[in-house]
């Protein structure tokens, strides 16, 4: 049985916790975010080569009040960058976080989830911009924590990346 630690990072309010909630059952309360700055959940995935357990560290949103504790990424095998499709600035923050993490912990497998795809009317990130991100080679998945669209795909994509890394 393989276990992997992965982290959810992104700006405040992009829906990291909602994505995790869609994906797992948790024993911890959300108050942990405001106290310790992280909430830990777990998901078992059945992969081709056997069972993979993802231990998800859902880190509190990065903002002025609560800067991301990069130390929480220590030992992580990969991470999910989350941005909010209705706020373009969150994509910038995601990019910034990505380079900060790479700076401290080296290049790790990651997936970019652009969340809130259900809110079409309020969507603010242009297709152009997204195409540029894809062109960089970033695995990009549009998700909706509300409808559940793309959620499983996000986690399973990262899981496959982690296993590739293992091979």
């Amino acid at each position: 049985m393989i276990q992997k630690k992965i982290c959810m990072v992104g700006a405040y309010g992009v829906g990291k916790t909602s994505l995790v909630k869609r994906f797992v059952e948790s024993i911890f309360d959300e108050r942990y975010h405001t106290t310790v700055g992280v909430k830990i959940d777990k998901k078992r995935l059945q992969m081709e080569d056997g069972e993979l357990t993802l231990v998800l560290w859902d880190l509190a949103g990065d903002d002025e009040l609560e800067p991301l504790r990069l130390s929480y990424l220590r030992g992580a095998s990969g991470y999910i960058l989350v941005a909010d499709g209705c706020r373009e600035s969150t994509l910038d923050i995601a990019g910034d976080l990505h380079s900060r993490i790479a700076g401290v912990h080296g290049a790790l497998p990651f997936v970019l989830a652009v969340n809130k795809m259900d809110l079409e009317a309020e969507w603010r990130i242009s297709e152009d911009r997204l195409a540029r991100v894809t062109a960089l080679g970033w695995p990009l998945i549009r998700t909706s924590a509300k409808t559940g669209a793309g959620v499983d795909q996000t986690f399973s994509t990262l899981a496959s990346l982690l296993l590739q890394d293992l091979k």
């Binding site: 049985m1 830990i40 220590r74």
Partner: protein, 522 residues
């Protein structure tokens, strides 16, 4: 063969054969064909022979070579080991300060940590001793030691071992992933993977928030009766959840277990890629950490408490019962005293089991202290303060009357003529009347009596004559009294003759020729 003109490349063709000697031509050919390579070869030879140049060459590639070789097998390491050892030895011999200076940042920290750990342990043990010596629990244990006759140390050991290691987490330090987890039979276990992750997160949180510079670790967490002790190794953490009051010794056991795990599994820990099944063999080491004696103890302790509570209840009941029965006895006694004729109780007080009774008491009344024995009250517990008075109770009146008549009768005498036993007419009437009154009073007062009629004589005369005369006189008085209505059963005649020897003077004496009365009371 001499051909001075035919040697060297580019020399002019000599005469004789038109194109120089064959040797010369060969040399010329060789020079033309391999001249440049020859120069290169010479250069190479020079580089190989010249140590300076050679060293320069090796220096260019040595780092890459070492790296390559290190990855291939362990021979390089083995080869270098004695060299490194020798070098270190030499360095220490030459100037120890170099190596100690280099190692200080590592060893200094380690020593500081070890010393502070030892000090902490000492302080903890001192605290524990002080706490146990002066706390309520300490006194309880001292009492228990006294009660059971065992030494305080023994009780301390017995009672301090009220703990149970409920859960043991072996956590990979780098990732925070759970490598192995064990729990005791009754422990409540939440998802150990998540607990392990959260524990690591909290470690990071505490370190980041409070001691970023020193890099100290969180070692103890305490919630209610639970202690979480975290042992930090270089590659793994051992977190043990202990319920109750763990002895200090336990921490050493945990540390030893972690050291054993790190020694045996250092490679797996270093190369951990998420495959936790490689850590299954740590199970016996962790099992050895699941120590504790909680479980049997609480029941025993509760039994003790129940016995104590029961004994306290019984004692309270007994005391209440004793107090009530003492009060009941006292009340009964007071009622008895108050009902006695000639006694008036005006007040009674009690102070811590002693009593004071105040009142009026007729001297003829029963002595109340005589009644204490009957009531089962110790006499020393009771003090009396009686004011004397005369009661008008019929019995007391009768007793007083009886006493008065008795006194009067005993003061009476009936006088006789010389040698006569004749009782004058009517002489005995007052006596007879009083004797009848006495009879009535005695009946009411409950007195039993007889009146001795004592016949007397004066000295003159013979002894036998005097005796018979005394008897005659007593008999005459008795007869006369009976005649006047006094019951004969009350009377007894007796002679007290006066003998000459006794008197010493044989003179007639009218005072002694008489009959007197004396009341005989059983």
């Amino acid at each position: 063969m001499t051909d001075p003109s035919g040697s060297g490349p580019g020399a002019a063709p000599s005469k004789g054969n038109g194109a120089g000697s064959p040797d010369t031509r060969y040399a010329e050919l060789r020079r033309l064909l391999v001249g440049p390579e020859e120069a290169q070869l010479r250069q190479l030879q020079q580089r190989l022979d010249d140590p300076v140049l050679h060293a320069e060459d090796v220096s260019r590639i040595i780092a890459e070579a070492v790296e390559l070789r290190r990855g291939r097998d362990t021979r390089l390491r083995r080869a270098l080991l004695p060299v490194v050892e020798d070098a270190i030895r030499l360095s220490v011999q030459r100037d120890p300060s170099v190596l100690s200076g280099a190692l200080f940042p590592i060893i200094g920290g380690a020593i500081r940590k070890a010393v502070s750990g030892a000090l902490k342990g000492m302080i903890e043990s001192l605290n524990q001793t002080l706490e146990q010596s002066f706390s309520l629990r300490g006194f309880q244990w001292r009492f228990e030691a006294l009660r059971t006759g065992r030494s305080f140390g023994e009780i301390l050991l017995l009672r301090s071992q009220l703990y149970q290691v409920e859960q043991v987490f072996l956590i990979h330090k780098q990732t925070g992933l759970l490598l192995h987890h064990l729990s005791s039979r009754d422990a409540v276990v939440k998802d150990a993977d998540l607990v392990s992750g959260m524990l690591t997160a909290i470690q990071d949180f505490v370190r980041d928030s409070f001691s970023p510079a020193t890099g100290e670790d969180l070692e103890v967490m305490q919630v209610g009766e639970f202690n979480l002790w975290i042992q930090h190794g270089s590659r793994a953490l051992l977190a043990c959840l202990v319920r109750g009051v763990p002895p200090r010794e336990l921490r050493r056991i945990f540390q030893l277990s972690l050291t054993r795990i790190e020694d045996q599994f250092w490679r797996q820990l270093d190369e951990f890629d998420g495959n936790v099944s490689t850590f299954a063999p740590v199970q016996p080491i962790l099992e050895a950490c699941l120590l504790g004696k909680l479980g049997e103890r609480p029941r025993q302790r509760h039994t003790g408490r129940w016995i104590l509570a029961g004994a306290a209840c019984l004692l309270a009941l007994f005391l209440a019962f004793t107090a009530a029965s003492r009060q009941r006895r006292w009340n009964a006694y007071l009622r008895r005293v108050a009902s006695e004729p000639g006694i008036v109780v005006t007040s009674s007080e009690s102070h811590w089991g002693s009593y004071l009774v105040t009142g009026l008491r007729d001297p003829l009344a029963t002595d109340p202290s005589q009644l204490l024995a009957d009531a089962g009250i110790p006499p020393e517990k009771v003090a009396f303060h009686w004011e004397p008075y005369q009661s008008l109770q019929p019995r007391f009146l009768s007793i007083r009357r009886y006493q008065a008549i008795k006194d009067w009768i005993e003061s009476q005498s009936v006088f006789f003529e010389l040698s006569s036993s004749y009782v004058g007419d009517g002489l005995l009437r007052p006596v007879a009347r009083k004797l009848l009154e006495l009879d009535q009073a005695a009946e009411i007062a409950g007195k039993r009596y007889r009146v001795r009629i004592e016949g007397r004589t004066d000295p003159p005369g013979t002894v036998s004559r005097n005796r018979s005369l005394a008897q005659e006189r007593a008999g005459a008085v008795l007869s006369e009294l009976v005649r006047q209505g006094v019951p004969p059963a009350r009377l007894v005649a007796s002679a007290i003759p006066r003998s000459p020897a006794e008197s010493g003077a044989e003179t007639a004496n009218s005072w002694e020729r008489r009959v007197s009365f004396h009341l005989l009371e059983p």
